[in-house]
């Protein structure tokens, strides 16, 4: 269970988030929807520890939790970015095993073995030796998901998972997110796509622009 209470965030005098609270139960999918400029991405960046909220508290399994201090092998939050942010100089397999080897300290061989099943289940086994520029958008996204999951996060966050993809792939991503739920993964999905959110989420949280 992940809780956020009274999150406030202001950028350059403009308040983006005001007293935002939500609860994410284990194994559920929470969608955060709203128009652009509503602060969805800011919210996600606060959860990911990429922004520091001006006020508010986070609780993970009842314990106080500071996303900004969420470092190293104990890192709890995984993120799939809108444009994936894969490392272009590393192969698919290296992208996925980089953190397990550098951060968790696994040997490269162990790390490759540990992620082989994960990669196969995401249809990435055949592209393991390829580089990001050689992949389709859908494949890149699955690499990003595998890369995050390889660190066994408590919560996996997505920023606009449908926006960088072909419209026909929208349902495929939805299926994948639901499959991951079956594997017991708690997920937070930020999207502007209401229908997509309704289709996959256990709970839809709507944010609206402040004072606009």
């Amino acid at each position: 269970m992940f809780e956020m209470k009274g999150i406030n965030k202001t950028f350059a005098g403009r308040q983006i988030l005001k007293d935002f609270s939500m609860t994410v139960p284990d194994n559920e999918i929470i969608s955060i929807v709203g128009p652009s400029g509503a602060g969805k991405t800011t919210l996600l960046r606060c959860i990911a520890g990429l922004e520091t909220p001006d006020a508010g508290t986070f609780l993970l399994n009842g314990q106080a939790f500071n996303p900004v201090e969420d470092h190293g092998r104990e890192r709890k939050i995984g993120v799939v970015f809108q444009d994936f942010n894969l490392f272009p100089n590393l192969s698919v397999e290296e992208n996925i095993t980089l953190a397990p080897t550098l951060v968790t300290g696994q040997k490269p061989v162990e790390a490759r073995q540990a992620v082989s099943e994960l990669m196969a289940s995401l249809g990435l086994a055949q592209v393991a030796k390829q580089y990001p520029y050689q992949l389709s958008g859908g494949q890149k996204q699955r690499v990003a998901i595998a890369r995050a999951l390889a660190m066994q996060p408590e919560i996996l966050c997505y920023d606009e998972p449908t926006s960088a993809l072909d419209p026909t792939l929208r349902d495929t991503v939805g299926q994948l997110i639901l499959e991951l739920k079956q594997r017991g993964i708690t997920q937070i999905v930020v999207t502007h796509d209401q229908d997509f959110a309704q289709n996959i989420a256990d709970q839809v949280v709507t944010v609206s622009p402040l004072g606009a």
Partner: protein
């Protein structure tokens, strides 16, 4: 242009070329790492560090290398910093080229998407790991063409060391040309410079090819 004459002057030209190669080699070895360090310093959060480094770059790029060579060899002894000719040349070349390299690397760092740092951060990588495994390899790839330009320039700039009395390739050619009243030595000097830059061009191309496995 008799072969006998060429074989007579070739040894002195080659010994001059050897000086050119030594200056070239040690300048690269010294200036590249120094340039990387300076470019990282330019991104420091401490304003005085950035200001000092920007001043250094301005000084190095804003005055002729020839003047800098004279200053190091003839000027610094006034404040009791005395270099022999060869080390003086290396000091001037390394500090001069490091400034150019630093600006090139700064551009390379700017070209790296912020998303790369964030992608690494949410995986739990430290800043140092991110630099070493993600950022620097991409920076190196992106700066090879610009660094290559400077490397080729350096081959020819090394001829400036004549001003502090070092015997390099061009000087060896000049000496022979004046003594024997012929342009043949200078022609040969041109050919040797072309061969040196050919080797550099080939090396740079191979380096580019090495990094072409990704985009």
């Amino acid at each position: 242009m008799s072969l006998t004459y060429i074989s007579e002057i070739l040894p002195s030209l080659l010994s001059g070329a050897w000086m050119t190669i030594r200056i070239f080699f040690w300048t690269i070895v010294g200036a590249l790492p120094l340039g990387v360090l300076v470019s990282m310093g330019l991104r420091s959060r401490w304003q005085p560090v950035r200001a000092a480094l920007n001043f250094y770059i301005w000084l190095m790029r804003g005055t002729p290398l020839l003047l800098q060579l004279m200053f190091v060899f003839y000027g610094l002894p006034d404040i009791h910093i005395v270099f022999a000719r060869y080390p003086a040349a290396l000091v001037a070349f390394i500090f001069n080229y490091a400034a150019y390299f630093a600006e090139i690397f700064r551009g390379g760092f700017t070209g790296i998407n912020q998303g790369q740092y964030e992608g690494a951060r949410v995986l739990g990588l430290t800043y140092g790991q991110t630099l070493r495994r993600i950022v620097l390899p991409q920076v190196v790839k992106s700066v090879i063409p610009a660094v290559g330009n400077e490397v080729i320039n350096l081959v020819k700039d090394s001829s400036l060391v004549y001003v502090i009395g070092l015997g390099d390739l061009l000087r060896a050619g000049n000496v022979a040309a004046a003594r024997d009243v012929t342009l043949v030595p200078l022609l040969l000097v041109g050919v040797i410079y072309l061969l040196l830059t050919l080797v550099c061009t080939y090396g740079l191309r191979s380096l580019e090819r090495h990094y072409s496995y990704y985009r």
